[in-house]
Amino acid sequence: MDGGDEGVVVAPIGDESMCSNGGAVDDPRRPPASSGKAAAGGGEQMDLEAYVALYTGRTRVSRLLFIAERCGNEGMQLEALRMAHDEIKKGEDSHLYREVIAKIGGRLGPLYALDQTWVDMVDRRAEARKEKLENELNSYKTNLIKESIRMGFNDLADFFYAHGQLGDAFKNYVRTRDYCTSSKHISQMCLNVILVSIELGQFMHVSNYVSKAEQAPEQVDPITHSKLRCAAGLAYMETKKYKLAARKFLETGPELGNNYTDVIAQQDVATYGGLCALASFDRTELKNKVIDNINFRNFLELVPEVRELINDFYASRYASCLEYLENLKPNLLLDIHLHDHVETLYTDIRHKAIIQYTHPFISVDLHTMAGAFKTSVAGLEKELEALITDDKIQARIDSHNKILYARHADQRNATFQRVLQTGVEFERDVRSMLMRANLIKQESILRAARKL
């Protein structure tokens, strides 16, 4: 399974045993779904090789390290660390290498112990290269040729990036800005900065540079455009603006292909976009922008579970929708960008499902509803109580017969009540205001009298 294949990857995230779409019914082999921060041992085993094959560059290593940290399963952890090690050895980053070796701690045998000679060699090479680049840059600066200065800074930044010094890489990419002459240069610079910012986790810069790139005078080419959309979507997601994130992801065109694998894979676009949309869009938007969206359909094909769960939600098959979500959860918790948003998104989706369920009815039997949502009546009652108190559902619970009755406030009475209340408050405020004005007048008279 090569990472280079375009879109011909079978069920990349998820259990290999789940080969039929939507067939997520009880699989006796699969232990009960685990919840919580770390996927407990015995949960869905992610196919690490397939997963990592989707990405290139530094993000591969970051993701592997993240998985190793979070997966809680020793076998998987060692596997991830091993793959990370191999990946790093292909590159030039000695700090990261040392980190990984420390994490492995000798558990993988002598082949994965600290190879000091390699480290020294890499460091020496790096020193030499750095000197060379800096000399070149200085000579360009004295020559004052814009284009070569720009290339010089760019090369230096690339070098720092390869060597893991992300802060310096960022600074140097930003410095090329002053020497950009064409809009192509500008978009290239912006993309570089965005890449480093995502690695550093500074998503404010990401949004800044996305808008900078889009303001370029000439039209950007479609691939760059899609890349920028994805980056913007990621930035919004990290700042918890799920609706805007969803919109950005949904606008990403299929031209993205595998061109942005050093940041995001196509499956991720589908997952992030789908989940954010489900948590924040209303029904019309969901239908127009997600289900009827031809471009996005291409992405959804890659992650059939997300496609199925969106369709289930729209068709009110809540039980199966929620089940898909539960199945996806362990793997999503291992995703470097999504993991701290999973809980919020899931709660939002669940609440939306409950609200949508009760919306068309005047009365709902809580037993049926509990069955549809696969919870107990008591638990459901608690959830409904919270939603009613937050004014998301207009209804009342008949706890004796376990029925939920829709309740529409009587506008006329409410208006009268408000009016009378406003009158009372006005009267009270004006009266005390007049009295205070009088007091202040007395005081000023006193003061004037004293002055005289």
Binding site: R396, S399, G423, E427, V430
Partner: protein
């Protein structure tokens, strides 16, 4: 200025109490003889029967004031109270208003005597008459107002205080009067369980303009916190117009109460009880313990009221659990009390142990309601007009115009100038 003898003064009084000019002349004469009267206070008692309080009010007042300011006379005269009461009942209001301080001082000594003899109830009716006579209009606050309310509080005749309290006050002579008046007013309303009115009175105390903190404001703030919690479950922030002195200092002097308010906000009953226990002596020494107990029971009420928003029917057991009561029986008692007080609308089905909550049955279609709305509208329009006229009046005030004239930016000469140049 000869030191006239008392007999001469009395003769003057009798002679010059006819028309207004005569009374004015008498007034100046009396002012000159003040010292003489005071020095001979002991002898004055004999002269009162020569004068008729309703006609010779001003003179009688001066004599009475000199007489009552002498402590020896006060102690010895058994009929002191009676004579003052008689005077108040029969005096003429216009003449009183010529020498209001004297009148006030007479009434104050009256009040002191009544309190000393521990029969505050005797002082209530006379003082009310006194207030009515002293006031130029029912919107004016006099120093006697607070004394009156104090007597009502001591005598526990809260209803008597209502007739004075229900007047709207707009004119105030002495800011200090206002503080005491509103504070006592708040206490009377609390006694009558009119918490909204009490809140208004106490609110006026703490938001009144003040440059230095005074003890009345501190005490008022303590009660204000408690009443706010009972009414709405939280203490509102200081409005913008509160003086900065109050905003900065009130909280630091009333720490136990602020803690109580924070404790209440968390909502658990046991925590609240614990908080009350730790500060028990402080509450007791401020004599606020009764209010604090009511705060405690209001916590239940608030929890139950929240339930009415989410449930149509609920078992007594569930109510007990939600409101942290111990048994369904207690829950039933509380719900029953709330239904009787009109705080919630519900029916209890004892057979099933269920409570059904209903909507407010008020439909706003009865004649009584229409009348209420109509009178409210008229009242508010009158108030609005008053506010407008005050604003107009102030815009013509020279001091205001001078200030505005100084502060406005310098325009060109041909710009429209809204402030006449003479005010610059």
């Amino acid at each position: 200025m000869a030191m006239e003898s008392v007999e001469a003064v009395v003769a003057h009084i009798q002679g010059l109490s006819g028309s207004q000019e005569e009374v004015a002349h008498l007034h100046s004469l009396l002012k000159q003889s003040e010292d003489a009267l005071r020095s001979q206070a002991a002898r004055l008692g004999a002269f009162f029967h020569q004068l008729d309080p309703s006609v010779h009010t001003l003179g009688y007042l001066f004599l009475l004031e000199a007489y009552s300011s002498d402590p020896v006379c006060r102690e010895q005269d058994g009929d002191f109270l009676l004579s003052i009461v008689e005077f108040i009942n029969s005096c003429s209001a216009e003449q009183i208003r010529l020498a209001p301080e004297k009148f006030i001082s007479v009434c104050k000594s009256f009040k002191d005597k009544v309190m000393q003899l521990q029969v505050p109830i005797q002082g209530i009716v006379p003082l009310r008459t006194a207030i009515r006579k002293l006031q130029a209009s029912s919107e004016q606050l006099t120093t006697l107002h607070s004394d009156y309310l104090l007597l009502c509080l001591l005598a526990k005749c809260y209803k008597a205080g209502l007739s004075i309290l229900d007047d709207d006050i707009f004119e105030v002579d002495q800011p200090r009067d206002l503080f005491l008046y509103c504070y006592y007013g708040g206490m009377i309303n609390i006694g009558l369980k009119r918490y909204r009115k009490a809140w208004e009175c106490l609110h006026n105390v703490i938001t009144a303009p003040m440059t230095t903190l005074n003890a009345i404001a501190v005490e008022a703030y303590k009660k204000y916190i408690l009443v706010s919690i009972i009414l709405s479950g939280q203490v509102p922030l200081f409005p913008k117009y509160t003086s900065s002195t109050a905003q900065r200092n009130l909280k630091s002097h009333t720490q136990p109460y602020v803690d109580l308010a924070n404790c209440y906000a968390t909502g658990t009953f046991s925590e609240l009880e614990g908080c009350i226990q730790t500060n028990l002596e402080k509450f007791q020494s401020d004599s606020n313990l009764g209010l604090v107990k009511q705060v405690l029971s209001s916590l239940y009420k608030r929890n139950i009221q929240r339930l009415t928003q989410t449930y149509l029917t609920l078992s007594l057991q569930d109510i007990a659990n939600a409101a942290q009561l111990k048994t369904p029986r207690e829950a039933e008692m509380h719900v029953l009390q709330m239904i009787q007080d009109g705080e919630i609308f519900a029916t209890i089905n004892q057979k099933d142990g269920m409570v059904s909550f209903h909507e407010d049955p008020e439909q706003y279609i009865t004649c009584g309601m229409i009348e209420h709305i109509d009178s409210s509208i008229h009242r508010l329009m009158a108030l609005s007009k008053k506010l407008g006229s005050l604003d107009e009046h102030m815009s013509c005030d020279p001091a205001y115009l001078t200030r505005i004239g100084k502060e406005r930016p310098r325009f060109d000469f041909d710009e429209f100038d809204s402030v006449p140049h003479k005010f610059l």
